[in-house]
Structures are given as structure tokens and as C-alpha cells.
């Protein structure tokens, strides 16, 4: 199953494969081996399973869909049902080295609070989201007068779980407001591969389909 909020790549990867979706691979590359990881919105456990197998992390997952939770636990991954808005409050401060929120921030009710929770329970937060500043989104609004709908954001406005869209610059602005330090950032293309543009440049906000940030307090 692909991420429910966005459609990044339709190629399905078999379970227990050591190859994972390209955008998830970029996240995995940011994680040091043997660390404690919380994957929020872990879906079917593709990233969590990979990190557990290849980086020997002490990984936990939180997933909204019952089906996702079931599939994760059936693979032996410690995952529980829950969502980013409601269920992060129980975890103690600094319980994890990394709190990962992949392609989920835009579907939360209070993105700012969620981000601050990530940085409370994790020493570092790894966050990825679709970029609303991408030229196609701008094109849809400017020339079609319609909310963006494209292979990357396939769901109609009235059905999408995505309620808090932002651009790369918006996100950076929020981090600045919160005094959050951007440790690393990159933009990705439609298939989730890294685009070699300086992520702070305005080109990144124009050509990046998605953005990936590693943050700390």
C-alpha cells in the first residue's frame, strides 16, 4: 500500500526486501544505526522494517489505519494504532533519537504542535511533505483556476485528507518562527529521487515535488 495522502510511487516493493521506495531510502540514509526511532504514520512498515533489519534500530511505529497496524505487527514490528495529532503526548521527552513523519504533516490538524511534539520526543525530527509551491500546483491555480490535482496529489479537494498544505518556504518560515534548527534539507522529484538544487533557493520551491527536512531544537 502506498501512502494514503500522496501518491509518490506506485511500484510495490515486496516485504522484507532490502530495497525500499526511493523517498523512504533518503530518510533511512539520515538515520544512524542502532538508534531509537519512532515512525509516525508508518503505513505498512516499509521504512520501519527496513531500518530494523538493516540499521538494527530500536524502532516503533504509530499508524492510523487498523489494516496498516495489523500488517506491521504481523511482520513482528512494534506498531500501535494512533495519530500524530492525538497520540504523541504520552511519549516521554527524548524517548527517541529520531521521530519520523513522512508525508503526513499536511494531513494533521495542528502541524505546528505536531512538529513541536516531534522535537520533544525525538532529539531529531525527520519530516517530509508535498510541496504546494511546485510549478504544477502554481500552474493549476494560475491558469486552470483549480486546486492542484496531479499524479503526486491525486485526490480531489473535497476528499483529500490533506488539510494543511504548505510550500517549502512556508515550512522554513514556520521552523524559523519556532526557533527550530534545520540540520539538513533537500527537495525530491515526482518519483521521490533527490533533485540536485540547493534546497534554500527559490528554484527548490518551484521545482521540488516534495521536501525532506531533518530538524533539531
Amino acid at each position: 500500500m502506498n501512502n494514503p495522502h500522496t501518491n509518490i510511487n506506485s511500484t510495490s516493493i515486496p516485504l522484507h526486501s532490502d530495497r525500499i521506495r526511493v523517498d523512504l531510502q533518503l530518510i533511512a540514509d539520515m538515520v544512524e544505526p542502532g538508534t531509537r526511532v519512532l515512525d509516525i504514520g508508518c503505513s505498512d512498515g516499509e521504512l520501519l522494517g527496513y531500518l530494523t533489519r538493516t540499521k538494527k534500530v530500536d524502532g516503533r511505529g504509530l499508524e492510523l489505519s487498523n489494516e496498516g497496524v495489523r500488517n506491521c505487527v504481523a511482520q513482528g514490528l512494534p506498531v500501535m494504532q494512533g495519530d500524530a495529532d492525538r497520540d504523541l503526548g504520552d511519549y516521554p521527552d527524548g524517548a527517541f533519537d529520531y521521530a519520523i513523519l513522512s508525508q503526513t504533516l499536511q494531513a494533521t490538524h495542528r502541524p505546528k504542535e505536531v512538529l513541536s511534539e516531534l522535537l520533544r520526543i525525538g532529539n531529531k525530527a525527520i519530516v517530509s511533505f508535498p510541496n504546494f509551491g511546485h510549478w504544477r500546483a502554481r500552474f493549476d491555480l494560475m491558469f486552470r483556476g483549480r486546486m492542484p490535482q496531479n499524479p503526486n496529489l491525486p485526490i480531489m479537494w473535497y476528499e483529500t485528507p490533506n488539510i494543511h498544505f504548505c510550500t517549502v518556504r512556508d515550512f522554513v518560515g514556520m521552523c524559523d518562527d519556532m526557533g527550530v534548527k534545520i540540520e539538513r534539507s533537500m527537495v525530491l522529484n515526482e518519483s521521490g529521487s533527490k533533485v540536485s538544487i540547493d534546497s534554500h533557493s527559490r528554484f527548490a520551491n518551484f521545482f521540488g515535488n516534495q521536501a525532506l527536512f531533518m530538524l533539531s531544537k
Binding site: 497496524v69 513482528g76 500501535m80 494504532q81 504520552d90
Partner: protein, 386 residues
């Protein structure tokens, strides 16, 4: 009709019996030093050389040690978790050494109120000390010690069995590698206590209960215990499951009879459930074990801060609930999971969609079996069990 107790005396039930607490007695929560006592238990599979493959399965209120027997010695039916435990099954007895013991206070071979009080040479009856879930678990630790097992690979159980699992994890965390509390809670709810009280009052209202001394009087409070079972049985099902199974269908008749006969199939079913239960269960045991569940509240020693009960625990937890279970709801399971999160424990928490109510954990639920199997296999891999 001979009572279950007198049947037992004539022909001891099959399986292992261990006498414990001869020198070091069992200290009960009530303060009583109890012993010696007998624990009846079954084992399946072989303990490996380093004694690392033992799984303790804990039974529910009216369950017993015959978890994976093909033929139950009293009912003649399948063991209560034959679906799950056995060669090549989810709890694979070719890989694991499975132990299941009758709880103390029970009536299938472990010392309970129907046994003889050595001081009076009469059945204990209500002189039997009140037992708690922690007492049951303490007795189990004595059995596990006697079997020479230091650490259990897993402790698994549903309903009251799940309470024992949690008690193990709280009191002996270093002895439990993996734990699966299923369809259970960290405390018995007011509603569950209320239903138990109805059951107990039904038993006590039966004149044949004789103030708890029915064995001395050669009587049996069969009607009271049957009513208790009928009530409890309803709570183990769900509205949709009852409707699917019975609807308003009539029992072997074309129309209602304008009487209090069992016109409806559901009535006939419940009467049968009640009747068959009294053949295998002791009424006083029912009082004692329901009381043990009522008293269960893991958070009580921690001023209600449940997370503190699990601080520093390295155990891997898998909590399972069933969507239509109104005895032990998913909300309660989530409360437990949140407490475990707050204690930085390794926890999985899954709700299984099922309309079969509380009893779903005993039934053929493929999603549940997939989850439990995945959890056990994953834990075995980390433990290095092949």
C-alpha cells in the same frame, strides 16, 4: 448425581500435579501464608537445553490447564485454545515448551475451595482464603521455579489470562521476554464487577448453596451457578453475534407457546450453556475467581499512574482487543498501550475487527491469528530461537 468434586476424588484428572509451598509458603495478598498446595498443569512440547523456549499460557475465568488437549477430560471437547496451540500452529509446540496451569482457587486439580482443609478435614468452602490475580501469578512463579525455568520466552493469555500476563510483566519483568495480553485490561471495570456480582448473588441465592457448605450437605447450587453462567455468557458475546446466530428463531416449534418454556432458540442455547457449565465447574471456585478479577487494578500501587508499573521494562508487549468486545474494550487496551508508551516500553497494540464479542479471542479469527503469529515469530527471531 455425583458432584464434580466427588468425581475428582475417585479418579484424579489426567496431567501433572505439583505440590508447592511445603517449606516456603505462598504469601497471599490478604496476608495469609498458604501451603502446601497443589498446582495442576499441562505441558506440550520439549524444553530446550538452555531453557529459553518456554511459553506460559494463562487461562481465563472458566478455562483450565487443558489448553491444547485434543479431548478435554471432562467435557470431551477440544482444549480451549487448540486453534492456537499445537504442532505447527501459532504457538508451535514443536518449537516451544508450552505450560498451562490451573489457577490457585480453581477446581480442575489446583487447590481450591472444594478441596479438603487439612485443619478441619472438611472441604474449605468459604474458609478458603480470598485469592487475587497476583496470588495466582505468585503460585505460577513457584511452579516455573520448580520446573527449573528462569525466564519465560512469552506469557500469553486472554481475558483473566491477560490480567495474569500483565501481573507477570509488572512483578517479574526480567522473567518475561514477550507478553501478549489479549482482550483484557489493567483493571476490572465497574460494569464487569457489576456483572460478576449478579453471578455471585445468583449462586448465593440458590438454597442448595447452603452458605457455601453444599459439599458437606451433599448438594450442589446448580441452578444458581447456571444463571451466573448464563448472564456472564451474554457479556462474552455481542448484540450482532447473538442476532446473527439466533435472531428471534423459535426452538423446535412453529409458534410461541404462551408459556415460560424456552420458546426462543437463544433461551434454549443459554440454558444449555448454564447446564453444561455446572457439570464442570465448582460454584465456590466461581465466587473466588470472579472476586480475584474484581480486585485486579495494576495502577493501584502507583497512585493510579499505570505507566510506573512498567518503568524500565524490557518486555515486548502485544496488546490485542476486539472491536465488538464490550467486557474489555479497545479504549481500555489503548489506555494500557499509552501507559506503556509513557514508560518507553516496546509495545504493539492492535484492534481486530470482529462482531463476535469478547469470546472472539477463543474463536477462528484469521486477522488475530496473523497478528499473534507475527508477534511471536518476531520476538523469537530477536531472542534467537530457531
Amino acid at each position: 448425581m455425583p458432584t464434580t468434586a466427588s468425581k475428582d476424588k475417585r479418579a484424579p484428572l489426567p496431567g501433572h500435579h505439583m505440590v508447592l509451598g511445603e517449606t516456603d509458603k505462598l504469601r497471599l495478598d490478604s496476608g495469609v501464608e498458604f501451603g502446601p498446595f497443589t498446582i495442576a498443569y499441562q505441558t506440550y512440547g520439549e524444553l530446550n537445553a538452555d531453557k529459553s523456549n518456554a511459553i506460559l499460557v494463562c487461562h481465563a475465568l472458566t478455562g483450565d490447564q487443558y489448553v491444547a488437549d485434543e479431548v478435554h477430560p471432562i467435557t470431551g471437547k477440544d482444549g480451549w485454545w487448540l486453534e492456537i496451540v499445537g504442532p505447527g500452529k501459532i504457538i508451535d509446540t514443536e518449537k516451544y515448551f508450552v505450560i498451562c496451569s490451573n489457577v490457585i482457587g480453581g477446581c480442575l486439580g489446583s487447590t481450591g475451595p472444594k478441596d479438603t482443609n487439612p485443619e478441619t478435614s472438611k472441604p474449605w468452602g468459604l474458609d478458603f482464603p480470598v485469592i487475587t490475580i497476583a496470588d495466582m501469578v505468585r503460585a505460577q512463579t513457584m511452579l516455573i521455579d520448580a520446573l527449573g525455568i528462569d525466564s519465560l520466552f512469552a506469557v500469553i493469555g486472554g481475558s483473566m489470562g491477560g490480567m495474569q500476563v500483565l501481573e507477570w510483566c509488572k512483578s517479574y519483568p526480567e522473567r518475561v521476554f514477550a507478553a501478549a495480553p489479549i482482550a483484557t485490561s489493567f483493571r476490572h471495570s465497574a460494569q464487569n464487577i457489576a456483572f460478576h456480582e449478579v453471578g455471585r448473588q445468583a449462586v448465593m441465592a440458590d438454597p442448595d448453596w447452603c452458605g457455601g457448605n453444599y459439599l458437606l450437605e451433599d448438594k450442589k447450587p446448580a441452578r444458581g451457578l447456571a444463571v451466573a453462567r448464563m448472564t456472564a455468557h451474554i457479556t462474552y458475546l455481542s448484540q450482532p453475534a447473538l442476532h446473527r446466530k439466533f435472531g428471534r428463531k423459535l426452538q423446535n416449534r412453529g409458534s410461541i407457546t404462551y408459556s415460560f418454556d424456552h420458546d426462543f432458540q437463544v433461551e434454549s442455547y443459554l440454558r444449555h450453556q448454564g447446564k453444561s457449565f455446572v457439570d464442570r465447574f465448582d460454584a465456590n471456585s466461581y465466587l473466588y475467581i470472579t472476586r480475584a478479577m474484581d480486585y485486579f487494578d495494576l495502577s493501584i500501587d502507583y497512585d493510579g499512574r499505570l505507566a510506573d508499573a512498567f518503568k524500565g521494562s524490557k518486555t515486548r508487549f502485544c496488546i490485542v482487543s476486539f472491536s465488538s468486545d464490550w467486557c474489555f474494550t479497545t479504549a481500555e487496551s489503548r489506555q494500557l498501550a499509552h501507559a506503556l508508551n509513557a514508560a518507553s516500553c516496546n509495545v504493539s497494540c492492535v484492534e481486530i475487527e470482529s462482531d463476535k464479542g469478547h469470546d472472539a479471542f477463543l474463536l477462528d479469527e484469521p486477522d488475530f491469528h496473523m497478528v499473534l503469529g507475527g508477534f511471536i515469530d518476531g520476538a523469537a527471531e530477536i531472542r534467537g530461537l530457531k
